[in-house]
Structures are given as structure tokens and as C-alpha cells.
Symmetry: D3
């Protein structure tokens, strides 16, 4: 499967925090560079997300904000 | 300034493509790891974005989709 | 590939309108039910989107607003 | 009321799961075609969402990702 | 029509900039407080948006980022 | 820090509701005009959000939907 989202960063799941409806997943996409995702609890279960699993962090380019110091 | 968005990836602007309303900006956040952003043309001008500039790619964790092979 | 987005509606591309940076794609997900997507022009080209192609409209559940009359 | 969001899919609420801050709502927009929304608990209460209620799933076209096999 | 989006700020259109696919609309929601929206060109036409028109800026609470100095 | 998001509305925190993963924050951006944000619980803690604190509600222009009566 290929997606139109311009950003599909390959990484490894570092941490999973389960809530009542949502789950927070932290993904290391490069040494020391982490991306955190909030997804539904049922999606996290369907994808069998757990520490160490290889995943992609998919982000639409229109969802990225640029900040400068 | 600090933001609530969980993801603020530090990087360097690699490429800027200007459209009529929007501008596409590619940011290298780690060697070989790039994030593309679509922002308004006027924002790109206000931030004086150009190749080589140091920026942050700010992404809300609720905007990240996780994909697995 | 499997995605955490809860919504992956299977459909057929009905129409593609190309802009300078973005492209608008209309997908029929059921008879008479259409979903319109704005994606980057380069993504549309990479995916070789054209009328009649079978695709999925992927939508994060946190991006859906509910309206009632 | 009319909205700028290109997608306003008419449907029927199939399921409502209540969390501490958010609520997950599943809407059938065509036979066998469902859209899931995560909205705030208070919004779900204000709209009196319950199984069988007729609603619209409103989605901005910039929030739709296209995937192809 | 009522929407699940928590934020529906009443305002007046101040400015409309038309692009090839998208249109940028600036709305004054309080004296000196403006909100800018990027919507599709066809949506702007359907809603007959023009300077002085009364509109609502509808924003999902999950799309708001909080920043502090 | 400057951000590409076109909307950075200055305001005061009016209310904070803490959930298991997310926190709901209400910000008054003008007398009688409020914006509600859902952010992660840990972000709310990092930013030390509490009633009366001065903050900015940052919103990408592509996340704003326009509605008309």
C-alpha cells in the first residue's frame, strides 16, 4: 500500500500509554528523534503495537507547522 | 515560546517550492530523514524560509497516523 | 500495509483537478457517496491517480466533525 | 447552515463509546460503509448522539489521505 | 445545523484571496482578532464568501495547539 | 519563536479538564469569545497550564472550516 501523505517516517515503537479511548505511542524515527502519536485504543490493538515494533509515522504535509527561533 | 504539540523536530530547510497560495517546504530532521510541510505562501515569507535555515517541524500527536507493513 | 486511521473507505477516483502545488481528487466510496481529497500534486503523480483507479480514502477519526440538522 | 468542508456524508449513528474526555462515534454512511469519529464527550452530549440518530460526517478535504494497493 | 466541533467563532469576512485550487479567507471574530482559513476555491464559491459576509470559523478542539511565552 | 500557523490568538486560560490521556483547555481570546483545545495530558503539565495563565491558541489555516447560516 502506498499513501498520498508525503511523510512516512520509518521508526521503532519506544513506548505505549493506553487510555480509555485513546492510546499514546512514541516512535523513534532516528537516533534521538522521536515522534509521538495519539491513536484510538482499538487501532493500537488492531496493529498489535508494542515496544520494539517497526512502524511508520505517517503525516500529511498540511498538518506540519514550521517554527523558527 | 513553548508549544503543546508533542512533536517539534529540529531540522534544516532543504527545499522550498512556491505556489499561488501555498508553499511546500522540505526539512531534514536527521540524516536522510525528511519532513515535508505545506504552509501558506505568506507564512513562508514571514518566516523568511530558505534553503539551509534552521527550523522546527511542529506536529500535533493527534495528526500522526501509524502504519505497519 | 495497515494504518491506525480508523477510516479507510474503498472507492474509485471520479475526478482529478490539478493545481500549482495541490491536486483535488474526488472518490466515489458508495453509489452516490463521494469524498473529496486535497493532496500535493507530487503525491497525486507518485500514486498515478486517474479517473477509474481504485483507491482508499483514509481519514483519522479525530478529523471527523459530526453535524446534526 | 452550510459548511466549507467539501465532505458532509449523511449517515446514521451505529455505535457510541464514551471515554473520560472523548467519545467515539461510528456512523454508517452507506450500507456497509462506516465512518468513525472521535469528538469531545461534551459535544456528543450537546448533540444528543445515540444509536439510530441521523447525522452528517463532515470532513475537510485536506484531512483525507489517499492510499493505493 | 449543529456541529460537534467545540469552536464556532462568529465573525465577518475581511479578506478573500483566490488561488488555483484553494482560497484564503480572513475572518474578524472580535475587534482586532482575526482567524485565517484556507478552503477550496469551489467551497468559497458555493458559500458566496465576500468581504462583509457574516460567517462562523469552525475549529475542532483537537486542531488547536497551545503556545506559551 | 515564530510559527507558520497563520492563527496565534492571544488569550487567557479559563478552564482545564484533565482526562486519562488528553486534557481539555478553554481559552478566552476576546471578551466572550472562547476557544477550546484538546491537548495531551503531559503537554498540559509541561506548559503548567492553569486558570488565568496567558497563552496563545495556535491554529493552522487549513484546519479552519467556514460555516454560513
Amino acid at each position: 500500500m502506498q499513501v498520498s501523505a508525503r511523510n512516512a517516517l520509518k521508526g521503532t515503537v519506544k513506548n505505549v500509554v493506553v487510555g480509555s479511548v485513546n492510546t499514546e505511542v512514541t516512535i523513534e524515527v532516528a537516533p534521538g528523534v522521536e515522534v509521538t502519536a495519539i491513536i484510538t485504543k482499538s487501532s493500537a490493538e488492531n496493529l498489535k503495537l508494542a515496544e520494539g515494533k517497526e512502524v511508520y509515522a505517517v503525516i500529511k504535509s498540511s498538518d506540519v507547522i514550521i517554527a523558527v527561533d
